[in-house]
C-alpha cells in the first residue's frame, strides 16, 4: 500500500494547524516560529510530490534564511509585545467568519468529490524527469527558457518590494518630514 496519503494528511493537517497558530499567537516571535513549522510542512509536501529541489530550497531559503532574518528583526526591534489591543471582535462576525469557512470547505470537498479527477499525466512524469537528468536540471532548463519571463519579472517585483520597504521604513516618525 502506498503510504504517501498518510504523510500528506499529516503534513497538510499540521501546516493548517500551525498557520492558524501564526494568526492566533499574540507574541510575534511565537508567530514567526509557527511559520517556520508551516514552511517545513510545505517542504514535506513538495518532497512527497517528487519535487525534491523545491523541498530543499523551501527549507534552505524560507525556513532558513528568510525566517531567521524575520526572527532577528522582531527580536532586535523588541516588538515582542503586541503594539495595540485588538479587543474582542464582534461575536456575530466571528460566527459568520467560521460559518463562511465551513461553507467554502464544504463547497470544495463537494467539488473535488463530484468531479472525476482524471488528470492525464503532463509532459513531465517522474520517469521522464529521471531520464532527462533529474529534477534540478529540468527545472533550471525550464526556468531559463520557457519560463524566463516570470523568472525575470519576479526580480523586478522584488526590486519594487525593496524600494517600497525603504520608502516606508527609512523615514523617522515624529521628526519633521523634509526633502530626502
Amino acid at each position: 500500500m502506498d503510504i504517501s496519503p498518510v504523510f500528506f494528511y499529516l503534513f497538510a493537517g499540521l501546516a493548517i494547524a500551525f498557520s492558524v497558530l501564526v494568526v492566533l499567537k499574540k507574541s510575534p516571535v511565537a508567530s514567526a516560529f509557527c511559520l517556520v513549522v508551516v514552511f517545513f510542512m510545505f517542504a514535506g509536501i513538495y518532497a512527497l510530490l517528487d519535487a525534491h529541489l523545491i523541498a530543499a530550497v523551501q527549507v534552505l531559503v524560507y525556513a532558513g534564511a528568510i525566517m531567521v532574518l524575520f526572527v532577528f528583526v522582531i527580536m532586535l526591534l523588541n516588538a515582542d509585545s503586541p503594539s495595540f489591543d485588538l479587543g474582542r471582535s464582534h461575536l456575530g462576525l466571528r460566527v459568520g467568519a467560521v460559518a463562511a469557512c465551513v461553507v467554502l470547505l464544504g463547497l470544495f470537498v463537494y467539488a473535488f468529490r463530484a468531479s472525476p479527477l482524471q488528470v492525464p499525466p503532463g509532459a513531465l512524469t517522474a520517469a521522464q524527469i529521471d531520464a532527462a537528468g533529474g529534477n534540478t536540471r529540468v527545472i533550471s532548463r525550464l526556468m531559463f527558457s520557457e519560463y524566463i519571463l516570470p523568472f525575470e519579472l519576479t526580480s523586478v517585483l522584488l526590486l519594487a518590494g525593496i524600494v517600497g520597504a525603504v520608502a516606508i521604513a527609512k523615514r523617522k516618525l515624529g521628526a519633521p518630514e523634509g526633502t530626502a
Partner: protein, 502 residues
C-alpha cells in the same frame, strides 16, 4: 518536443520585431533604475532630477507605445506575453496616467513635506506592472504583474506615514488585496489542474474542445479567478476596501488608482473574460453562467455605488463611491460586448474617458487639499468660483462629464456603452443603468451648486498657489474631456482597433 532535454532556440533569442515590441517595457524599467540611482546619489540634490527623469521616462515610453500601436501582433516569451494594439493602447493610458500623476504630485509633495524620490519610483513600478498586466497572456505572468502593481500601490497609499488614515488605508488595502491575490492564485492553480495550462489561449482552446461541459474543478477555478478580478475592479460585493483606501491615500495617488489601476484591472479582465467565458465558440452553458454572474455584480455595483454616494460629504469618498458606480457601467458594457456591433470598443472608450475625467478631478482636489488632505469636504468648496474661478470651471467640466452630460467625454462614452447594451438586447440592464446615472446627477451637481451658488465660508483657509505642472495637467484634461465628448470618433476608432487585435 521534449522540453525537458532540449531548449528551443527561439526561446533564447529575440527577433527584431520582438525587441521592438519590448522597447516600451525595457525603456520604462531602465528609466526607473536610472531614477533610482539618482535618488540615492549624494552629490546632487535629487528632488528635481528624479522628478524630471521619471516624468520623461513615462512620457517617452508613452510616445514609443503610441508608435507601436499600429504594429502587427507579436508573440513574446513562449506566448506568455503579447504585443498587440490592445496592449499598446493601454500602455499609452497607463503611462499617461503615471506621468500626469507625477506632474500633479510635485507641488503637493512639497506642501506635504513628502518629497521623496521613492514616490516617483513606485509610480513607475506600478505603471510597469499595469503594462505587463495588459499584455500578459499567461496567468502566472498576470499574477506577478498584478503583484508588482499592487505592491507599489500599497506603499503609495500609506506614503503619508505620520497620518493615521493613510496607515489604516494602506493596511486594509494590503491585507484585503493579499487575500484577493491568494484567491486569484488558487483559482489559477485549479485552472492549471483542470486544463493542463496556465496560458489563456490554451485554456480557451481547452474549453472550446469540451463539448460536454467542463469539470467542476474548472468552474471553481474560473470562479476564484473572477472573484480576484472583481476585487481589483472593486465591484460589489467586493468593494468594501475602496472608500477607505481612496479617502486615506494621498490625493494624487487616489487619482492614479481610479485611472491606471482600474484601467489595468479591466484591461486584463476583458482579455481573460473573452477567452475563458465569453468568447466565440464557447459552450452556451458557460456563456450564460458568466453572463449571470456579471449581471448580478453589475446591477448591485451600480445601485449600491450610486445610493451610497448620495450621502457622502467628503469629496474623495464621494468620488470613491462614484468610481464603484462607474465600475458597474463598465460591467454592463462587458456583458453587451458579445452581442453588439461595436464589440468591446465602448468598454475601452469608457475606460479612457473615465480615466481622463478622474485624472483631472483628482488633480484639482490635490491642488485644493489643505495640509494632510483636510479641507476636501463639500462646504470647503463653497464659493470656489469666486476664489479660484478657473479651478471651479475645470472641476465643473469633470463633474458634468462624470454625470454624463453633453458635450463631455462622459456623455459620449456612456451613450456608446448603453447603445451597445441595447443592441445586445439587455434592455433591463440599460433601464437600471440610465436610472442610476440619473440619480448620480444629483450628487455631482450638488458640488457645482456649492461652488457657484454658495458664499465662501467665513475664515476659509487661503488656497495654495497653483503649480505650473498641476495647472498643465488640469488644463490638458479639460481639453481632452471636451475633445472626446465632441469628436469621439477618433478615439472610438482607436479603441475598436485595439479590441480587434485581441
Amino acid at each position: 518536443m521534449d522540453a525537458s532535454t532540449t531548449i528551443r532556440a527561439d526561446l533564447l533569442t529575440l527577433t527584431s520585431e520582438q525587441a521592438m515590441m519590448l522597447s516600451p517595457y525595457l525603456w520604462v524599467f531602465g528609466g526607473t533604475v536610472l531614477a533610482m540611482i539618482l535618488s540615492v546619489t549624494r552629490a546632487i540634490q535629487p528632488r528635481l532630477p528624479v522628478f524630471i527623469v521619471s516624468v520623461l521616462t513615462a512620457l517617452v515610453g508613452m510616445v514609443v507605445s503610441l508608435g507601436l500601436f499600429a504594429a502587427d501582433r507579436v508573440m513574446l516569451f513562449n506566448n506568455m506575453m503579447v504585443g498587440d494594439s490592445y496592449a499598446n493602447f493601454f500602455n499609452v493610458v497607463f503611462l499617461a496616467s503615471a506621468a500626469l500623476t507625477m506632474l500633479a504630485s510635485f507641488e503637493y509633495l512639497d506642501q506635504e513635506r513628502l518629497q521623496y524620490g521613492e514616490y516617483y519610483l513606485l509610480v513607475l513600478f506600478a505603471a510597469l506592472g499595469m503594462m505587463l498586466m495588459a499584455s500578459a497572456l499567461d496567468l502566472i505572468v498576470i499574477f506577478i504583474a498584478l503583484e508588482l502593481m499592487s505592491l507599489s500601490v500599497y506603499v503609495l497609499v500609506g506614503f503619508r506615514r505620520a497620518d493615521r488614515r493613510s496607515n489604516e488605508a494602506a493596511m486594509k488595502y494590503f491585507i484585503l488585496g493579499a487575500a484577493a491575490s491568494a484567491i486569484l492564485l488558487y483559482g489559477t492553480a485549479l485552472l492549471y489542474g483542470a486544463t493542463q495550462s496556465t496560458n489563456i489561449r490554451d485554456i480557451q482552446a481547452f474549453v472550446q474542445s469540451q463539448s460536454g461541459g467542463v469539470s467542476i474543478m474548472f468552474t471553481l477555478g474560473a470562479w476564484l479567478v473572477i472573484v480576484g478580478f472583481l476585487f481589483k475592479i472593486a465591484s460589489v460585493p467586493f468593494h468594501m476596501w475602496m472608500p477607505d483606501v481612496y479617502e486615506g491615500a494621498p490625493t494624487p495617488i487616489t487619482g492614479f488608482m481610479t485611472t491606471g489601476l482600474k484601467a489595468a484591472a479591466f484591461a486584463t479582465f476583458v482579455r481573460i473574460f473573452i477567452s475563458t467565458g465569453y468568447g466565440d465558440g464557447l459552450p452556451a452553458a458557460i456563456q450564460s453562467h458568466m453572463h449571470d454572474i456579471i449581471v448580478v455584480c453589475a446591477v448591485l455595483t451600480m445601485v449600491i455605488g450610486n445610493a451610497v454616494a448620495l450621502t457622502q460629504t467628503n469629496l474623495k469618498r464621494m468620488l470613491a463611491y462614484s468610481s464603484i458606480a462607474h465600475t458597474g457601467y463598465i460591467l454592463v458594457g462587458m456583458i453587451a460586448g458579445q452581442g453588439s456591433e461595436q464589440g468591446y470598443a465602448p468598454v475601452v472608450l469608457y475606460l479612457v474617458a473615465y480615466a481622463v475625467m478622474n485624472m483631472g478631478a483628482f488633480a484639482v482636489l490635490a491642488i485644493l487639499a489643505a495640509r494632510a488632505d483636510q479641507g476636501l469636504n463639500l462646504r470647503d468648496f463653497s464659493g470656489l468660483s469666486s476664489r479660484q474661478p478657473w479651478l471651479a470651471f475645470a472641476m465643473s467640466v469633470f463633474l458634468l462629464s462624470m454625470a454624463g452630460i453633453p458635450p463631455t467625454a462622459g456623455f459620449a462614452a456612456k451613450y456608446l456603452l448603453f447603445y451597445s447594451a441595447v443592441q445586445a438586447h439587455e434592455i433591463g440592464l440599460v433601464v437600471i443603468s440610465v436610472l442610476c446615472s440619473a440619480i448620480s446627477v444629483y450628487y455631482y451637481l450638488r458640488v457645482l451648486v456649492h461652488m457657484y451658488m454658495h458664499e465662501p465660508e467665513e475664515g476659509a483657509a487661503p488656497l495654495r498657489p497653483v503649480s505650473v505642472w498641476a495647472a498643465a495637467v488640469v488644463a490638458s484634461m479639460v481639453v481632452l474631456t471636451v475633445q472626446i465628448g465632441t469628436l469621439p470618433a477618433g478615439m472610438l476608432a482607436a479603441a475598436k482597433r485595439a479590441v480587434m487585435s485581441l
